[in-house]
């Protein structure tokens, strides 16, 4: 009657678990060595475009399904979609750097930082931010020369853009279903201001927000800019009570048919094209003033 049998079992299990731990340790060491991939996981479509533009597309190992420009990115493996990322898949790539958009992907970023993974976040509100981001990415990816050249070109281009002739139109930017709009502290607001427009809801308390349609009509925009697919010019004109809005009377309503939504909501090197198109749209004469 003693503790002998108990110790016997304990001894055996101790030896067993010791062996198991050594095996696991070897397994982890081995897999770490094997898995030392040094690529980038890019969950931000904007960052993906900037990285591709500075010539490091081949270092991107995985993206989200929204990262569709340049089109060759669509062939890369995905780790989910922009707002629904599988953090397990991100970690499985053992990335050198994860490029993400905040604040949408902040939760994932916080988790990755806890695990010691290097992260880079973008939230670009102005062309100044964009140029700085390009230079920063150049340093990170050791492509300073290409990145600085791109940034300088963009800087020069921005300096040539003027607000155009004529009165500055008030622009109502509709970024989503049910009157979600952007203030002038967003990149799309910055572009509108750059080409001579004025942002109708410049005084929103947050960068983006929901307004009431009564307020939209009351503020009477000269131009309506729809930056999401699925809404046509006729849909806007048929909204009840909108017929007296200047933009509806003059037909200055621009939708996904006039300008690619991705081009206008993303801050990328392609934004030069967006500025050109937007400038042309905002200064296009109203249909009924062509007498």
């Amino acid at each position: 009657m003693g503790f002998a049998p108990f110790f016997k079992i304990m001894k055996r299990s101790l030896i067993l678990s010791g062996i198991l731990m050594v095996v696991l340790l070897f397994f982890f060491l081995f897999s770490k060595v094997k898995n030392r991939a040094q690529g980038y996981v890019v969950t931000s479509p904007e960052a993906a475009e900037i990285l591709a533009a500075i010539g490091v597309e081949d270092k991107i190992v995985a993206v989200t399904s929204e990262c569709d420009y340049p089109p060759s990115l669509q062939d890369k493996p995905t780790v989910g979609s922009f707002s629904q990322i599988s953090i397990e898949k991100v970690i499985a790539w053992n990335p050198k750097i994860v490029f993400a958009t905040v604040p949408t992907q902040q939760a994932m970023i916080s988790d990755l930082e806890k695990l010691g993974i290097t992260t880079e976040t973008v939230y670009i509100r102005t062309f100044d931010d964009l140029i700085k981001t390009i230079r920063r990415f150049g340093v990170l990816t050791k492509r300073n020369d290409v990145a600085n050249q791109l940034a300088d070109d963009l800087q020069q281009f921005i300096e040539t853009v003027d607000i155009g002739p004529g009165p500055r139109p008030w622009v109502y930017i509709e970024i989503g279903d049910q009157f979600w709009t952007a203030s002038d502290r967003t990149f799309v607001g910055e572009m509108v201001k750059l080409v001579g427009g004025r942002v109708l809801f410049h005084d929103l308390p947050n960068d983006y927000g929901k307004v009431s349609q009564e307020d939209v009509v009351m503020r009477n925009p000269d131009v309506i800019l729809i930056t999401y697919p699925g809404v046509t010019r006729e849909d806007v004109m048929n909204r009840r009570g909108w017929q007296d809005v200047t933009a509806c009377k003059t037909g200055r309503i621009y939708t996904a048919e006039d300008i690619d939504p991705d081009l206008i909501v993303r801050a990328t090197p392609r934004s030069r094209e967006a500025v050109v198109i937007l400038g042309e749209l905002l200064h296009r004469l109203p249909d009924n003033e062509n007498q």
């Binding site: 005084d203 349609q213 009840r240």
Partner: protein, 314 residues
């Protein structure tokens, strides 16, 4: 004696004042009143009218002071139906989807709450709450999977009295509202049956009321009404719960009077809540008016009231 005679007059005057304030406060011009305030007023009136009237009906029919479309899960069922309609882009049929959702949730609650041939009071509320939670969870899942419809689905979940109409949708809505008011009068016409049912199924049957038949009819009619209202205005809680209690305190327990006064008081109270929802943002931030979902405001008033009823009953 004197207060009960004075109460309707006070109520009438204050509701007219409320409606005038709702239409005229901080408005740009008469076209804004006609195009935005008036439709919103009509929807708020209809929603409050139906939710409170149906709340009063449920409370009598189920003999349960905490029954209303929100606590019984009918609103959530209708909201799930409307959400599916919105996702499928079938804008014209959203009220129909709402009705089907309300009917399904009503049936589920009824089947869950039945025990030994009678409706069990506690089981009724519990199954209502459970099915309401389940339907809301399904809506959240659909919202997660359909991010491009986010704005519309949030409006259904939190309540929104300013839908986007085209001219033809607006005419359709006026028609639907007319039908709803007629159906409400159908409910009012059953007040005597309901009054008998508040004394229990056995008593009602002995008074010659075909309890089962009346209940089925009223369930279907109220499901149609809730389906219509929720598909346009979203889930708005507590109005249907607290208003019948307030009117019972003010005007006594006569069922017919309770239903009619509940409907009208509910309409005015929802207009008041929507007025607050529309304008309270200006107190916090002096730029663009940021509107608060009306369901949030009704819950702010309704939840403490719910607690108060619970404490008082003990």
């Amino acid at each position: 004696m004197k207060t009960s005679k004075l109460a309707p007059i006070v109520f009438l005057i204050s509701s007219i004042a409320m409606i005038a304030l709702y239409l005229g406060y901080d408005v740009a011009d008469s076209s804004a009143i006609l195009n935005f305030r008036l439709p919103r007023l009509l929807l708020a009136f209809l929603t409050g009218f139906v939710l409170s009237g149906v709340g009063s009906t449920y409370q009598a029919m189920l003999n349960n002071p905490l029954a209303e479309p929100y606590t019984l899960g009918t609103s959530a069922g209708a909201a799930l139906g409307s959400t599916i309609g919105v996702i499928l882009n079938l804008w014209w049929f959203v009220p129909l989807f709402g009705f089907l959702g309300a009917l399904v949730s009503m049936l589920a609650v009824w089947i869950l709450a039945r025990s030994g041939g009678f409706l069990d009071k506690t089981r009724l509320l519990l199954s209502g709450i459970v099915s309401g939670m389940f339907f809301t969870a399904v809506i959240s899942l659909l919202m997660y999977l359909n991010q491009q419809k986010l704005g519309s689905i949030i409006n259904i979940l939190l309540g929104n009295l300013e839908p986007v109409f085209t001219q033809s949708e607006w005419q359709f809505f006026i028609g639907v509202a007319g039908v709803s008011f007629i159906l409400m009068f159908y409910l009012f016409a059953h007040a005597n049956h309901l009054a008998a049912m508040t004394s229990g199924d056995l008593v009602a049957s002995s008074l010659g009321v075909d309890v089962k038949k009346v209940r089925i009819r009223l369930f279907v009619v109220s499901s149609i009404l809730i389906g219509i209202v929720v598909s346009y205005a979203g889930i708005i809680g507590f109005i249907g719960l607290i208003v019948p209690h307030i009117t019972r305190m003010l005007f006594g327990v006569n069922q017919r009077r309770n239903m009619i006064t509940s409907a009208f008081l509910g309409a005015v109270l929802l207009i008041f809540c929507d007025f607050i929802a529309k304008h309270v943002g200006k107190l916090i931030y002096s730029g663009v008016a940021i509107e608060i979902p009306v369901g949030v405001i009704t819950a702010f008033f309704g939840a403490p009231f719910f607690l108060w009823i619970m404490m008082r009953k003990r």
